[in-house]
Every structure is written in structure tokens, then in C-alpha cells.
């Protein structure tokens, strides 16, 4: 099971490292700041989700009997500190993601989102003690692979039909 986790993490990182064929030197230098930020984003996003999960488990299953219950329930939910920590992580993830997209191609950054599905499983196993069965690992591996395949396509199909090279 650990082996699958290692492969899940190595494979997308390795494939996203394949160098760009145009102005390679510039690309290498860019990678020095791109890769650490990608690593931060694939930990922050899943961390946010795991913390949301932890916070909501602290709240417990919500009982809604009518529209009048919405406000008290919202009040109870948003008074849990863990939840706010999770929201902060997700906001941080969003910022880092936007920052990355200001200089890196979407098709280069997007495969990193594939990795997030592996890290979310690792983090929920380590931090929340969730039992991740081999079947679930297999499913997550397929999802990662599928997202990678989706990411390896042209980012804009509506305005530039003749070229497949990312801007």
C-alpha cells in the first residue's frame, strides 16, 4: 500500500518535470520557483480539505428540520476553529495557484491537481486515521492518471483552432 502511495506521488511529479522544448534555459530557471510553489499547493489544498473534514466531524451530523434551523446551524459550524484553519488553507491554496498561473502554463500547473488526490488520501490516513483500502487506492491512482491525461491537452480550443501550443 505504501508502495502505491510512493508511485502516486513520484509519477505526476516526474511527468510534470519533463522540460519544455522552447527556451529551455529560461524554463529551467522558472522551475526553481515553480516547483516549490507546486509542492506547497498540493499540500495546502488537501490539508484544507482534511481540516474541513476534521472540523465538521467535531460539529457532528447536522439535523435540519426547516429553514429556521439554518442560522443556528451555520453559527455552530462556523464557531469551530479547525474549520477556519481549513478555510485559511484553501484560501492560501487558491492564492498560490493564482500566483503560479501568472507565469506558468495552465497545462504545466494542472497536473499538480492530480497529485492533490493522492495527498488527500495520505493526509486523511495520517491525520484523521481513515482506513484507505487497496480498492480506494486503486481508484485514486486512476483518478490521478485521468487528471494527468486531461491536463496534457491544449488549454484553449475556442479562439486558436490552428495551433496546439500553449501561449
Amino acid at each position: 500500500m505504501l508502495k502505491i502511495a510512493v508511485v502516486l506521488i513520484i509519477l505526476p511529479v516526474w511527468t510534470s518535470f519533463t522540460p519544455l522544448d522552447h527556451h529551455e534555459h529560461h524554463a529551467r530557471r522558472l522551475q526553481l520557483k515553480t516547483i516549490p510553489l507546486i509542492l506547497v499547493s498540493i499540500v495546502l489544498g488537501p490539508m484544507g480539505n482534511v481540516l474541513l473534514g476534521k472540523g465538521m466531524k467535531e460539529v457532528g451530523q447536522v439535523q435540519l428540520h426547516g429553514v429556521g434551523d439554518l442560522l443556528p446551524v451555520a453559527f455552530r459550524v462556523f464557531s469551530v476553529p479547525t474549520l477556519w484553519l481549513g478555510i485559511a488553507c484553501l484560501l492560501g491554496f487558491f492564492l498560490v495557484h493564482m500566483l503560479l498561473l501568472t507565469w506558468a502554463d495552465y497545462s504545466y500547473v494542472q497536473p499538480a491537481t492530480a497529485l492533490a488526490y493522492a495527498t488527500v488520501a495520505v493526509l486523511s490516513y495520517v491525520l484523521l486515521g481513515e482506513m484507505v483500502s487497496p480498492l480506494r487506492w486503486a481508484g485514486i491512482a486512476l483518478i490521478c492518471f485521468g487528471v494527468l491525461v486531461v491536463g496534457r491537452t491544449a488549454p484553449n480550443t475556442t479562439t486558436a483552432p490552428k495551433t496546439t501550443v500553449a501561449p
Binding site: 488537501p46 480539505n49 482534511v50 474541513l52 473534514g53 465538521m56 466531524k57 460539529v59 457532528g60 451530523q61 447536522v62 459550524v77 474549520l83 488526490y117 488527500v120 488520501a121 493526509l123 486523511s124 490516513y125 484523521l128 481513515e130 484507505v132 483500502s133 480498492l135 480506494r136 486503486a138 481508484g139 485514486i140 491512482a141 486512476l142 483518478i143 490521478c144 492518471f145 485521468g146 487528471v147 494527468l148 491525461v149 486531461v150 491536463g151 496534457r152 491537452t153 491544449a154 480550443t157 475556442t158 483552432p161
Partner: protein, 124 residues
């Protein structure tokens, strides 16, 4: 039963919200001027777009559904299943935004869907 409704909101409302946002932002055009004043003017124009507000409301609905479902289901189950958004996003982009989805991309989406099926079967 409840989890089906919540997953539906997470996937369909979450993705629908992003599609509406994309539609609103595309109508604004690409930003070339990054001076604070022109960015502010950009925001001022953007908040007048109805699609933006439809998008934000749908995304909020998706987020609250995610919170609700996390109160009783495992994170390592919910997050992978929500990857179905890739499929919903492709259909939405095709029919709502008029984007062309390549065969390569449909293949990726099929693989994601297969993975989600396996994760769904791992449910306890």
C-alpha cells in the same frame, strides 16, 4: 439518500458556478493593465455582471454541501468522488461555453470516472 443529493450539489452546483464565473470573466476580456486603479475599475465592472452572482451563489451552495457531507463521510472518500466535476465540467464547457472537447480529453475524463467508480465501491 442524503449523500446523493449532497454529491449532486458538490459536483453540479460547484462546476456550474465555475462555468458561470468563466462566462462572466470571458465577457470582460483579458486583463492587460495591472495598475491598482484599473484593477479596481475592472472589479467594479465585474460585480455588475449577473452571471458572476449566479456563479458565486452556485459555488457557495457547492461549498456548503461539501461541509455537510464531510460531517458524516470520510475525507478520503468524498474528495476523490468529487473528481466527477471533471466530467461535469467537460459537459458544461461543451454545451454552455461552446468549447470543443478533444478525444484525448474525453479519454482522461473516462479514466477519472472509472477511478471514481472504484472509490465508490470502496465505501463502507
Amino acid at each position: 439518500m442524503l449523500e446523493y443529493v449532497l454529491f449532486f450539489f458538490i459536483v453540479v452546483a460547484g462546476t456550474g458556478g465555475e462555468l458561470c464565473l468563466s462566462r462572466a470573466m470571458k465577457s470582460m476580456g483579458e486583463i492587460h493593465d495591472f495598475r491598482p486603479m484599473s484593477l479596481l475599475r475592472f472589479v467594479g465592472q465585474a460585480i455588475r455582471l449577473p452571471w458572476l452572482w449566479v456563479g458565486i451563489s452556485l459555488m457557495a451552495l457547492g461549498f456548503f454541501s461539501l461541509l455537510a457531507i464531510l460531517s458524516f463521510l470520510e475525507v478520503s472518500f468524498v474528495v476523490p468522488v468529487s473528481a466527477l466535476s471533471y466530467a461535469a465540467g467537460a459537459f458544461g464547457a461543451k454545451f454552455f461555453l461552446g468549447e470543443r472537447i478533444t478525444r484525448h480529453r474525453w479519454m482522461g475524463i473516462a479514466i477519472v470516472t472509472l477511478g471514481v467508480t472504484l472509490v465508490w465501491l470502496s465505501r463502507r
